[in-house]
């Protein structure tokens, strides 16, 4: 089913950044034609507050991340998008003065509680960072890292899964002869796809992507965007991006953040063609941020 949304061009839309032609994807459920409420939630956030020391950065965020969909998080710099998704895998716990309050439900439990097993949480929620960060080891060891850490398996199965992850990250052909080379010998775009392979090798449920393409060249970016579209059938993806066109291209749902609050959240096509909030409209049309 190829869903195409044809909206009547509005005044605003002609001023807006033109949404580029979508990549041809089968199963294109661009959020417009489905029943939002009926979809299962992967992550349910309620009233999330976040503090850097005394300073509050997020205010009462409430949002539902749907399973096997791409949710984009957009907004001007400093609006709290990265801070928000970094609450999902509690990576903020590394820093003494960062605190979160509220509820983030994942698989029925509030992951902000002190009972949460962080190691297991991070096995199920993976993260891709803005700067490609391969570990200082071979390509193979990078991808095998998570598998070796959480599971016991024979070398042959490990090899198979590594190969599989690299194939599903659309990088196998480029690295199949370089498996024993250091991870950072690859180009920037390749490194990022390596990091994606590393993240998906352990079959997480969710992939958090924090501006994954901002340090990558356009060709690499296109490859990663294509990859995201293919990955979503197996994973739930939350994508932070400062590139609105990217959000429009690949996501099903979009959340617009501003100064730590979620201003608007809905199907991507609606957000970009007919946003309900004035602030959203101003951001989309490039009036600020």
């Amino acid at each position: 089913m190829v869903g195409t949304q044809v909206d009547e061009p509005t005044q605003m839309q002609s001023q807006a950044a033109v949404i580029p032609p979508r990549l041809e994807v089968a199963e294109d459920r661009r959020g417009g034609g489905e029943d939002f409420a009926a979809l299962p939630n992967e992550i349910s956030v309620r009233d999330l507050d976040f503090f850097y020391g005394k300073e509050q950065a997020l205010f009462g965020n409430t949002i539902e991340i749907k399973k096997n969909r791409v949710t984009a998080v957009i907004g001007p710099s400093g609006c709290g998008k990265s801070t928000h998704i970094r609450a999902y895998n509690r990576i903020f716990n590394l820093y003494r003065d960062q605190k979160a309050k509220g509820e983030i439900l994942f698989d029925g439990a509030n992951i902000l509680s002190s009972q949460t097993d962080l190691l297991d949480l991070r096995r199920r929620i993976g993260m891709i960072f803005q700067k490609p960060s391969p570990f200082p080891m071979t390509v193979f060891d990078n991808v095998a890292y998570g598998l070796r850490q959480h599971y016991k398996m024979h070398r042959s199965e490990l090899s198979n899964r590594v190969e599989d992850a690299l194939k599903r990250s659309a990088i196998w052909d480029e690295v199949k002869h370089k498996l024993n080379e250091p991870g950072n010998a690859l180009s920037g775009g390749q490194q990022q796809r390596l990091c994606i392979a590393r993240a998906i090798a352990g079959e997480p449920d969710v992939l958090l992507m924090d501006e994954p393409c901002s340090a990558i060249d356009p060709v690499g970016t296109a490859k990663i965007e294509e990859l995201i579209l293919t990955l979503k059938s197996n994973y739930t993806i939350v994508l932070v991006t400062h590139n609105m066109q990217q959000a429009a291209r690949v996501s099903d749902y979009t959340a617009f953040f501003f100064q730590g609050r979620i201003v608007e959240f809905g199907p991507t096509t609606k957000i970009f063609s007919n946003p309900a909030e004035k602030q959203t409209e101003e951001y989309i049309t490039g009036r600020f941020g």
Partner: protein, 303 residues
């Protein structure tokens, strides 16, 4: 769209590594870290404490003004001649090694850079820095003591200079390499001569680091004993003049470290106390200089 294989089913069937075990290992390592750190800190603090306690007793006016006692029953005397001797010997060594090492470092950083000669020099400097100081002492002995048939403070200075030279060169090179290239280029773009740019602009910018490097190199050799064992040896007298049996070039010169060594190994309590006093002096001087240059260096860091 590229054909993408279906993902394999989530590895629920795989055996999981025990999270409990992993956390236990993590905790154990953290505990050992704390124990180890405290152990190390306490041991080091203990060392300084012992020196202070035992050495402070010896510090009096006599310690700093009188020369070393020779009579084993004596309760008089001080380390003054040894202190002066160390200052002179180290000073001469610095005069020889600091400028040479500095220019050598300039060569490595500014001229030779990655050329074959410079790379070889760098490698050799690294090797020389690893040579035990006693071997340097043996070298100075063979060159300056044996042929001339007498010990001399100068031989000690040569040994110390030998140790300082590669240290100074490498330190200079490292510091100069920190200076951004733009500074070099803008200096040269003004039409100034290379040597003026190097000395006037770059070294001025790196002044803090260079002074620190030189000071630390000097302080380091001031505490050395082994190179002086068979060069300057030691002497119960004051250094007198240049030539002649107690002169700098003519005979053994009293110095702090060798005197400490001799006195600490002696069985007489007074001598041992004096040795502790000397040890305290060395620690105070070394740590004091370190703190001082650190304070200087912090300011010198801004380009």
């Amino acid at each position: 769209m590229s054909a993408v294989p279906e993902s394999t089913s989530p590895p629920a069937h795989l055996r999981r590594r025990s999270i409990g075990r992993r956390k236990a290992t993590d905790l154990t390592v953290k505990i050992f870290s704390w124990i180890g750190a405290w152990f190390g800190i306490i041991a080091m603090g203990f060392l300084v404490y012992e020196v202070v306690i035992r050495g402070a007793v010896a510090w009096n006016w006599a310690f700093f003004t009188q020369s070393t006692p020779q009579d084993v029953t004596s309760t008089q005397g001080g380390f003054a001649n040894a202190i002066v001797g160390t200052i002179v010997i180290t000073g001469v060594a610095a005069l020889m090694a600091i400028p040479t090492g500095f220019l050598g470092g300039v060569y490595l950083a500014e001229f030779g850079r990655n050329g074959r000669v410079a790379t070889a020099v760098r490698m050799i400097a690294n090797v020389v820095m690893g040579v035990p100081s006693i071997i340097v002492g043996v070298f100075a002995f063979a060159v300056l003591v044996k042929p001339l048939q007498h010990y001399s403070g100068f031989a000690g200075s040569v040994a110390l200079a030998f140790i300082m030279l590669p240290v100074m060169a490498r330190t200079t090179e490292d510091i100069l390499n920190l200076v951004p290239n733009e500074l070099r280029e803008s200096g040269l773009a003004m039409g100034a001569a290379r040597w003026k740019v190097t000395l006037g602009v770059i070294c001025k910018a790196a002044r803090g680091g260079l002074i620190t490097g030189a000071t630390l190199a000097i302080v380091r050799v001031a505490g050395e004993t082994a190179p002086l064992l068979f060069t300057a040896l030691s002497s119960p007298y004051w250094m007198t003049g240049l030539f002649g049996p107690s002169g700098f070039f003519g005979g053994p010169v009293a110095n702090l470290t060798k005197t400490i060594y001799d006195f600490s190994a002696s069985p007489y309590p007074h001598f041992q106390t004096l040795a502790w006093g000397g040890a305290l002096l060395i620690i105070v001087a070394v740590l004091g200089m370190n703190i001082l240059v650190r304070l200087l260096f912090q300011r010198g860091k801004e380009w």
